[in-house]
């Protein structure tokens, strides 16, 4: 029983960390139709931003907010400066993957060139809280709380605001949305900004929780949150949340029951099973399955 509670609690923590980035990534793809493989590198850059703010003794949550602003701005720059010109020119979807990978390489290795190969670390000490026989730090609880707030905000934003409606309309059918008077261009820009902010927060919190990081940390976790997004069905924000929960629970369970070295490998095993039997993801509607799988 104790083991189950521990796995559950830390599974929720992992899920909280992954869900922020996974929802950002999947929202970006859903609305803009670009699979942005530079996402992981942008997450790393957000960790560096948080690290710099901590060195300047700026309060932690203001640092996280700055990382969000940074993620949002850099993601806008990436879309306006690089991705949109290629899309306008008619570069095929699959060449876009090459373009975003190149952008990711440039960001990741520029950071490495600036920072050097050493591993940096956060030294955040927060009091620990014990409950139900497990011990978590206050920071970890706050991260879970923030993730829940963000998920609820995204849910409310997508369901109950006009902007959310426009976003869902653009995601479902951009041409039809345009003919109903939705400015798909503006909606996409908003999507880039929002998903960029999520990328910044997600990245910064991952760096903070893991404690030590270098220029590849963002990409390591990017792969895991992509796995979460794929399990849920890429382009589906709610699917990404469920996918993050699945990955979180399975990886923590594997870490406790099998071996910590295998935690993400076993979580990837879930991904493989999903790819084999339901390649469009668990929560994708049938129609979206058809666009992703031929």
């Amino acid at each position: 029983m104790q083991v189950a509670i521990t796995i559950f609690a830390f599974g929720i923590l992992t899920a909280a960390l992954l869900s922020i980035g996974a929802v950002g990534f999947t929202l970006q793809f859903g609305v803009t139709n670009v699979l942005n493989l530079a996402f992981g590198a942008l997450m790393t850059s957000a960790i560096f931003i948080l690290y710099e703010t901590q060195r300047a003794h700026i309060p932690l949550w203001i640092g996280v907010a700055l990382a969000a602003v940074w993620g949002s701005l850099s993601s806008l720059v990436l879309s306006v400066g690089l991705i949109n010109p290629f899309v306008r020119r008619g570069t095929s979807l699959f060449s876009m993957a090459v373009v975003t990978v190149a952008a990711g390489l440039i960001i990741e290795f520029s950071l490495e060139a600036i920072q050097g190969p050493q591993i940096l670390g956060f030294s955040t000490q927060t009091p620990e809280v014990g409950f139900l026989g497990i011990v978590m730090s206050e920071l970890q609880l706050e991260i879970i709380g923030l993730a829940v707030i963000l998920m609820v905000a995204i849910h409310v934003g997508l369901r109950y605001t006009r902007l959310g409606l426009k976003m869902r309309a653009t995601a479902a059918d951009a041409a039809l949305a345009r003919s109903c008077g939705v400015s798909a261009r503006k909606v996409r820009l908003v999507a880039w900004a929002v998903s960029g902010a999520l990328c910044g927060i997600g990245g910064a919190l991952i760096g903070l929780t893991v404690g030590s990081f270098n220029s590849t940390t963002g990409n390591e976790f990017f792969i895991i949150l992509v796995a979460a997004a794929i399990i849920g069905g890429v382009g589906q924000p709610y699917g990404a949340m469920i996918g993050a929960l699945v990955i979180g629970m399975v990886s923590e369970g594997a870490a406790y029951l099998v071996s910590p070295a295998y935690n993400y490998i076993i979580a990837f095993g879930v991904l493989i099973v999903v790819l084999l039997f339901r390649p469009q993801g668990l929560f994708a509607e049938y129609s979206s399955g058809r666009t992703l799988t031929q």
Partner: protein, 340 residues
Amino acid sequence: MSSLMQFYVTELLVLFSVNIIAVWALDLQFGVTGINNFGFIIFQSVGAYAGAVFTLGSQSANGGFQHFIGGAHLPYPWSVVAAGIVAGIVAIPIGHMGISRLRGDYQAIVMLVLAVMAVNIANAAVNIVNGPAGLSLVPQPLVQFFHSSLEYAWVYVALSLVWALLAFYVVRGVTAAPLGRRLRAIRESESAASALGINVAQMKMRVFVIGAMLAGVSGAVYVQYLGSWGPTSWAYTETFVFFTAIVVGGTGNMLGAALGVALVPIAFQELTRFFPNVGYPGMSASLQWVLIGILMLVFMWFRPRGLIPERRRTFRGGKVLALRKAPVIESTSAGMSSDG
């Protein structure tokens, strides 16, 4: 030529042959058929591990300091052939998962995830291919027949060029009409190709497996030259060096790919080696990757078809058929569109 210079030249020639086998294989998948294989390095690596394991003999050799499965002493050409076959076998389940049923960019990201995951597995499971330490002391093939190491270096160049020639004939055989015409049709429009009665999933799967086998051969030729192979030898980013070579040289034609290999993995990486060292050690290596990214973007923008563009294939009636740009479907947005 001084013998030092000769060693350098032989190393470049072996590198060239290894890379050209890999790039031709990737171009067959990416340039000709339109498969976005961002996990290509998996298959080169499987071939390298297999090429090592099939020559190292049993685990207990060399005092038993490395652990791996399936050790054997295969005679020379067979160890490389077997490595190619193993890579081809590994490609079947991976292709089934990642390639045959998914859309292009989605394919790319699934393959990328699989590539990262494969490195994780090689690191975590120490008994398969010796974990993070990797395999070393891989014996060089046929070395016992030669007395001077310089002589052997040139012999190895000849051997690897023979493998490259073999790869050339395989890829040319596959891309020649009518099979190649079918593959190009799939690249241009999958739905049109399947409407013409081409079994798209099956063709893609075949190309995927053939490409993986060639990648395996290149890995085996490489490891038997290097003598060691470990998880650090095949980070997922290595795939993008091959992609850059194809994008720079020209997609969908073997001459372009060859030029790309000569320019990107060979000339570019060798030239930057002679740059003055700035900053800390290793900084130029990261700047090299930044340059590779920039090179890729510059070519994607200014010369998307590469230095040597693919030849336009024309219909005997005189009408130009092939090689229009892939259509951008404005209305298909991600997940939820209803038109297929």
